[in-house]
């Protein structure tokens, strides 16, 4: 028997009215205001190239005049991404029988059996896998 997704209706959808009201408000705001013609990138041949120059604060005539350099923001985002990576590793820790097990652990405890990367082949007591 195949099943299809069903729309679950009920009282839990009630707070969503706030989102709908917000959309109505924003749509009314946008539709009642007048915007001029967009300025466009008149003198720019390749937007991608100009983005690349702007990302690393490189002065080039292909970049529109009033575009800032973003090297500082680039480095800050780098730090943020590293922090997120570290946070991910920290959150992946777990505690097994009072001992903290991290995702960076390399040796395999015998509690979880031999490592299965060799097909689960057992080694004897003198083996160097301990």
């Amino acid at each position: 028997m195949t099943t299809k997704p069903e729309l679950k209706l009920g009282r839990h959808l009630l707070p969503g009215v706030v989102a709908l009201a917000l959309f109505g408000f924003m749509a009314a705001l946008v539709l009642t205001s007048t915007f001029g013609d967009p300025a466009g990138f008149g003198g720019v041949d390749s937007v991608t190239e100009a983005i690349g120059y702007s990302l690393f604060n490189i002065e080039a005539e292909t970049v529109p005049a009033d575009t800032e350099g973003f090297l500082a923001a680039f480095e800050i985002v780098d730090v943020v991404l590293v922090a997120a990576l570290v946070a991910g590793v920290m959150l992946a820790r777990r505690e097994v029988e009072g001992e903290v097990v991290t995702a960076l652990r390399s040796e395999v405890d015998e509690r979880w059996g031999p490592e299965e990367t060799d097909g689960g082949r057992r080694t004897d007591e003198q083996g160097d896998r301990r």
Partner: protein, 101 residues
């Protein structure tokens, strides 16, 4: 030839409202994350639209940074959801009420 700015703004408002709807009505933490992504991407659409409106590339470059921050946010968010699932056996955000106070 570019589309009028109003269309971009309407698309962005719709995306943001869909994201807000998801955050307000759903209880699954993974759908929460997806809804927050929708809201961030609504901001991205606005950045790019106003970038061409002003003839200034700043918005397009900043949209790239928003994407990088969204990636970091999802990395931490999925880590938190994993811990949530391990501790509560569920990804329902209404279950871990002890973290409220």
């Amino acid at each position: 030839m570019t589309a009028p700015l109003e269309y971009y703004l309407l698309l962005s408002a719709a995306l943001f409202s869909i994201g807000l709807f998801g955050v307000l009505t759903r209880e699954n933490a993974l759908i929460f994350l997806m809804s927050v992504e929708l809201m961030l991407n609504a901001a991205n659409v606005n950045f790019v639209a106003f970038s061409i409106y002003h003839g200034n590339l700043t918005g397009q470059v900043f949209a790239l940074f928003v994407m990088a921050l969204a990636a970091a946010e999802v990395a931490v968010g999925i880590g938190i959801i994993l811990v949530l699932y391990r501790n509560f056996g569920d990804v329902d955000v209404t279950v871990p009420t002890t973290m409220r106070w």
